[in-house]
């Protein structure tokens, strides 16, 4: 056997294998299916039940005026809880799963540094959430445009936006929704590293927006609403107004950073310093 020198791998190599592992896990496909099914079901259902033979109402007219309304409508609904659930599926699992399988001790005795492993896993969870979001938007846009055409859009302010610009606004809206989702992913990563229990970490991550929605309903706590992560899930709607309402979007940026960055930093430091005693 020839002697082979081991050396620290590149982060891209570690990331590639993290993504490779993701390909073989059922929850990966469960999350992606959850993201694309609502727009697909919505468009099929609408076409079956609200076709030309059915009487139209105002809502139906707005929805079917252009296919580009579908991704906006889907983002409005999926952003509340479905994408947080999908993001949590991988973020809450990514460290805890290795703990449960006993593979963490195996990968931490190779030449990749703990920091590299953490970053690769964090990037994997972030990329997965992005993929789910992009896939849902793509399916919603494609299905909507196929059904109702690539036409101008009427914004929330009542102004008309040409179709190409509306498409750009949809991409931008997804980007600004992705930021609070990313914050939740960071919290999921922290919980995954701390709890070492996949189910507990996923459920706890999903519970966070639910608790925040409940907090938002408590009378007398209106003052905290702008600082709730769940409020930031709707900040992207500022793009759907004319002129663009940048206030909630810019506010969302730093609120998301307040949630996400400390969670990521604590998770990182914990992972660097923690004992790997199981498995």
């Amino acid at each position: 056997m020839e002697r082979t020198a081991v050396r620290r791998p590149r982060l891209a190599t570690v990331l590639r294998w993290e993504l490779h592992k993701l390909r073989f896990q059922r929850r990966t496909y469960l999350g992606l299916a959850l993201s694309v099914l609502p727009p697909a079901i919505f468009v099929v259902f609408w076409n079956l039940h609200h076709g030309p033979r059915h009487p139209e109402n105002v809502f139906a007219r707005e929805i079917t005026a252009t296919g580009l309304a579908t991704p906006v409508l889907m983002l409005l609904f999926e952003s509340v809880l479905l994408f947080p659930i999908i993001g949590s599926l991988v973020a809450g699992d990514v460290f805890a799963n290795e703990d449960a399988n006993g593979t963490l001790k195996m990968i931490l005795t190779r030449s990749a540094e703990r920091g590299q492993i953490f970053l690769a896993k964090a990037l994997t969870a972030a990329l997965y959430a992005l993929l789910a979001l992009a896939l849902a938007t793509t399916v919603a846009t494609a299905a909507g445009v196929a059904s109702w055409g690539f036409r101008r859009v009427i914004t929330l302010s009542g102004t008309v936006v040409p179709a190409p610009k509306a498409l750009l606004l949809i991409v931008a809206a997804n980007f600004f929704y992705y930021l609070p989702l990313l914050s939740l992913v960071c919290i999921g990563l922290l919980l995954s590293a701390l709890t070492r229990n996949s189910a507990a970490a996923v459920l706890a991550t999903v519970a966070i927006p639910i608790v925040l929605y409940i907090v938002a309903q408590i009378p007398g706590l209106e003052g905290v609403h702008p600082y709730l992560l769940t409020e930031q899930f709707q900040a992207w709607q500022g793009l759907m107004r004319t002129p663009t309402d940048w206030g909630p979007i810019l506010h969302s940026l730093w609120v998301c950073a307040l949630y996400g960055l400390p969670a990521l930093a604590v998770g990182y430091l914990h992972f660097l310093r923690r004992d790997v005693a199981g498995g």
Binding site: T4, R7, W17, K105, R110
Partner: protein, 321 residues
């Protein structure tokens, strides 16, 4: 097997005052250990003695509460992967990604080791551990023994200078155990230092040049196996009058009566001192029927060191010459 100091003063593994506490429980208590270069070092101890915790600290998986570990002079906790570069191995059962094939698992580990083009090496290692036929099989379908063998392959992938193996023969059939012994011997001949944690005392006795026995988180003995055997060697004496012989033995410098059973006295002492006792017995007119040395087995020594005073007593009177 352990030859001089091939590493110029830097030992493959040195632990100084290594301690790990979990709240009020002290799992490892000021453990001092040196694994000499080129040795096959048996790491022995009963369950709960702190073996696995020590191994995890050796590999930088657990942070010591106090003390330090040096792998070829480098601290695995502080220096991380860089300190582990010349080290391969596993603690407890080696684990793999069950949904990946054996080959994919090794390719993943090779990637984490920064090994470029590992395909040929992986092929050779799978052949070495007799898993070539299962290269494309998902590890989730592997038997325990196959997992152990894959663990060896994963450890050797790094071409280590120090190989840390925790119970490597667990789950192997007799032929597999024999092959493992031969493999360890071959690796040692290639200059690889092997740290072998095992409950199989016969295996340790056969392949190890050095041993450390730990008990309640502390090193009870550490050194060459021959030294351990010499430390545990005793004499068996049978005379016409054991009671008088015992009184006489107490008067001879360097001889200690450490027990007695089945009409024999168990004595501890150097050859010269016991020789002097025989002269005194002759002068006293006490016929000697039998005088023999008793070299304890590793198992007897193990229990002597791990069962405390009771074990030592057993060691002194056990065997039968």
């Amino acid at each position: 097997m352990a030859g001089g100091d091939p590493l110029g003063g830097v030992q493959p593994l040195e632990a100084r005052g290594l301690t790990k506490r979990y709240g009020t429980l002290t799992a490892v208590d000021h453990l001092d250990l040196v694994v000499p270069g080129g040795s096959v070092f048996g790491f022995l101890g009963p369950n709960g003695a702190g073996k696995t915790t020590s191994l995890r600290m050796f590999l930088g998986l657990i942070r010591p509460t106090a003390g330090e570990v040096r792998l070829f002079g480098r601290d695995p906790w502080r220096e991380g992967a860089a300190a582990l570069a010349p080290v391969g191995g596993f603690v407890e059962t080696p684990r793999f990604y069950p949904y990946l094939t054996a080959e994919d698992n090794l390719t993943l580990f090779a990637a984490l080791d920064g090994i470029a083009k590992p395909k040929r090496l992986i092929g050779e290692l799978l052949e070495l551990v007799e898993l070539s036929h299962a290269a494309s099989q998902k590890v989730g379908t592997f038997s325990h023994g196959m997992g152990q063998r894959l663990g060896i392959a994963a450890a050797l992938l790094r071409q280590p200078k120090l190989l840390v193996l925790d119970e490597p023969t667990t789950g192997l059939d007799p032929a597999g155990i024999r092959d493992m012994r031969l493999l360890i011997g071959r690796l040692s001949e290639q200059g690889i230092t092997v740290l072998l944690s095992s409950h199989q005392l016969a295996e340790v006795q056969e392949v190890c040049s050095h041993v450390a026995i730990i008990r309640a988180g502390k090193v009870a003995f550490s050194g060459p196996l021959e030294e351990l055997r010499a430390a545990g060697r005793s004499w068996r004496l049978r005379t016409a009058d054991n009671a008088r012989a015992q009184r006489l033995a107490a008067l001879v410098a360097g001889v200690r009566v450490v027990g007695g059973a089945e009409g024999e006295l168990a004595l501890a002492g150097e050859e010269e001192a016991v020789g002097a006792l025989t002269v005194e017995l002759g002068k006293a007119g006490i016929p000697i029927y039998r005088l023999s040395t008793h070299a304890p087995t590793l198992e007897e020594l193990f229990f002597a060191f791990t069962d405390g005073d009771h074990g030592r007593q057993e060691l002194a009177v056990g065997g039968g010459g």
